[in-house]
Amino acid sequence: MGVKGVKVKLDELETAIGRFKGLEISIGRVVEEIPEEPIGPTPFPSIADLRDWDLKLLRRYRPFYMPFCDLCCLCTFGKCDLTQGKRGACGLDMAAQQSRIVLLACCIGAATHIGHARHLVEHLIEKYGRETPINIGEDAVEIDMPVTTLVTGVKPKTLGDLEMVLDYCEEQLTHLLSCCHTGMEGNNLDFESKVFHAGMIDQIGMEIADAAQISAYGFPRADPEAPFTEIGWGVVDTSKPVILVIGHNVPPAVEIVNYLIDHQLYGQVEVAGICCTAHDITRYNAGAKIIGPISWQLRFVRSGIPDVIVVDEQCIRTNLITEAMKIGAPFIAASEKCCHGLPDRTHDDPDAIVEDLVSGKAPGALILDPDKVGEVAVRVAMEIAPKRRKSGILPSREEVVEWAKRCRRCLECRRACPNDLPIPEALEKAAKGDLSALEALYEDCIGCVRCESACPQGIPIHSLIASAARERMASERFKIRVGRGAVQDVEIRRVGGPIVLGEIPGVVALVGCANYPRGGIEVAEIAEEFARRNYIVVATGCAAMSMAMVKDEEGQTIYEKYPGVFDAGGVLNIGSCVSNPHIAGAAIKIARIFAKRNLRANYEEIADYILNRVGAVGVAWGAMSQKAASIASGFWRLGVPVIVGPHGMKYRRMLLGRREREEDWYVYDARTGDRVYVGPAPEHLFYAAETKEEAMVMIAKLVMRPSDTTKGRAIKLTHWIDLHKRFYGRLPDDLHLYVRRKADIPITMRDEIMKFLEEKGWQERPIPDPTLLKRLIRG
């Protein structure tokens, strides 16, 4: 695609402006003038430009490192033992090494989104033209790309404008990655500041990707009424040819749908997706279906249902091609990033490719042209479907029992299982014909098949679990609203006040992957709890899917029960992972629309606003990827705390406030310049909870902000205390730190709380106009 891209650009240049010999062009960044708004202090910030802000955050939210390994093995001076104060051959100590690894992860994550955005923008420009307007919300959205505008100062108008912003992202990313080199940065807090920078750049990358695809493909544009589609293992009509699309970069899937439509085949072939490509293809066409999050890959492939598997990039099981071969489904790789050893057929005649795939002469093909993927995938699916046995490789009930008998109880599977699932115990029962214990593992199993790798007996454990849960899987049919994209200005206008004042108790963003400690059902429970309490619940990616996969007594999913509007008690599927910046964007737009703050290149002020006023919290209950790490860090810098599940501790460091250190919780009162104690709100910036209960109580706590009005604080306290009592059986020990004035106290609990406060020697204190930035003091 690179060559093609370049040629196109050259042609355009030649046609548009003439022919160039020895032409000298200054290619700089064109910052478009927005007459109504001056440019802020930090346009296109480089690594150190926001370091002061970062260090402010890091002084309060101190890194707690939990090394995942005692060693560093990043260069051939190593391995170096960094245990207990030892330094590596380059002088590095363990704190710096851990923060460096976090930076590396965030760079990989950001690179993935930015690279994805680059490929997408290139493709869409080629297909729809450079002048295609950015339009993510019709007239309902004034600033299409708030993160980009906030960070860089520019306001891209067309697909073509996005390229220079990507140039900036790639440049910053290159600098950041270089900081991971041996013999570069030495201070852990400076590494952390760079982590924040990576997260911020990542947000731009994601924003570009989603803005481009919404604009060009006509995805729902900030639509609270985005249509419903189906999700679950059981939604596919197996009587039709089935194309399974997996990944994140949607063009090949779009061209599959286009080919179907163009050839009057629409409705005759099922297009079903896993991971974000599933989100995005349903945003393109709600007739497509979603199988589920990443952990559904193997169980669904092994079922034998897909006739063709098309993968683009990200979150693809890396040996999926061997699984595809086992069920006789041709495998099409559609990205240069994931070639999977396949021959490059991009420039071959589609007839020849179809023939090779259908006949089984070739197990798969690499096709780097989405249009050709569309044609080949459909044709292969239609030709192969009648011939394929769709039975897959899930063992029958009897076979399960036979396999179970082979188990020697060596425990290797359990010791390999990330969730320590009691497999040997379940097999012991299964060997006796009772599959219930095996079936019970289904919900908690993330489909990683490390157990199978570890089993010396070669028992296909995951298939056994899936088989035992076959009926349950087949009945998985749920409704999900497709990703709506951004939040409308009018919605912000309606809720901005209530959020900042605290009357809408908070915005809870459920994002990220499916590395759940105890199944996706926990995400659904969290969502339900807060929706019921009139928080605004927004979701993206795998979490948005997991939430949908539970029904209430009436058979309704959360998306059916709650409206899709950004308002108290709304439950919003925002979209895929790259839709995350719409969540950041909503927070930013509150500052813009409600508080009339300037956005352009004004990062620090807006982050300070959000940290002190916007009660938003991110929850990535199953976060596992480097992308999730960079997404989280983008939120940190912006002042939005993030909670992860227990596996998230493997990111190796938390950013924790210390509620009892009074000195950490002073802000300026922007009206007077006084330093004022505001209590530990929000208490943490990056926190891992062990249990969903702990997460829920922490969510309710972290949405409190210094600027809450007494009414708002009372509402937030009500929920926090209520949850705390329910799950922990008593009042929070640190409640007094969050009650500023008597009026903060929820009326219904007045006596109990007053008694508590008296014991603590509590006194009323002022509620300032809070900021951490001296320059914002007006008085």
Binding site: F64, E690, F727, G729
Partner: protein
């Protein structure tokens, strides 16, 4: 397998916990400690909570408990359990300057029980590397029924029965 990480891949590094071959070892660590603390995690079941209370009472040692288990402690009328989540107590135990639950300063011995394997694996790692105590480091003890290499001392991988024996033995040696 006794002295190997319970989760196969959780290989630590050069410094690994001593295996507790006899509960007397723990008893003597506790007795020699001037300020021990018991940390109870979110996986604690009834038995763990009961043993924790016994242990605490045996030597007057406070408990930092993951908030979700607070109810269980309260139900048993136990007062000396203080709510800290895993990462919160980890971060505090790391800090040489933390004032402790009672304001009298840091602890010199921390015992862990009731955790998901990988959770205490990581908290103990954080403490092993960063919990400075003068010239040395905080002594940590894992009392869960699997080997935790990042602790200073750890029980080996044990069946539930053998584990209970060990804890009972420990209580016995502490005079309960």
């Amino acid at each position: 397998m006794r002295g190997e990480s319970w989760q196969t891949a959780e290989i630590p590094g050069p410094k690994k916990a001593h295996v507790i071959t006899d509960p007397r070892i723990v008893a003597s660590l506790i007795k020699r400690s001037s300020r021990p603390i018991l940390v109870v995690g979110g996986e604690a079941d009834e038995a763990v909570v009961n043993y924790a209370i016994e242990l605490s009472k045996a030597v007057g040692m406070p408990i930092a408990a993951t908030p979700s288990t607070l109810k269980a402690f309260a139900e048993r009328g136990f007062k000396d359990a203080h709510p800290f989540s895993a990462v919160e107590i980890g971060e505090r135990l790391r800090d040489p300057d933390w004032e402790g639950l009672d304001g009298s300063g840091q602890y010199d011995l921390a015992l862990f029980m009731g955790f998901k394997y990988y959770v205490s694996w990581l908290i103990l790692s954080g403490l092993k590397h960063f919990a400075k105590r003068g010239e040395g480091y905080l002594t940590t003890v894992s009392l869960d029924p699997y080997y935790q290499p990042h602790a200073s001392w750890s029980l080996p991988n044990l069946t539930r029965e053998r584990w209970e024996e060990n804890i009972k033995g420990l209580l016995h040696h502490l005079g309960r």
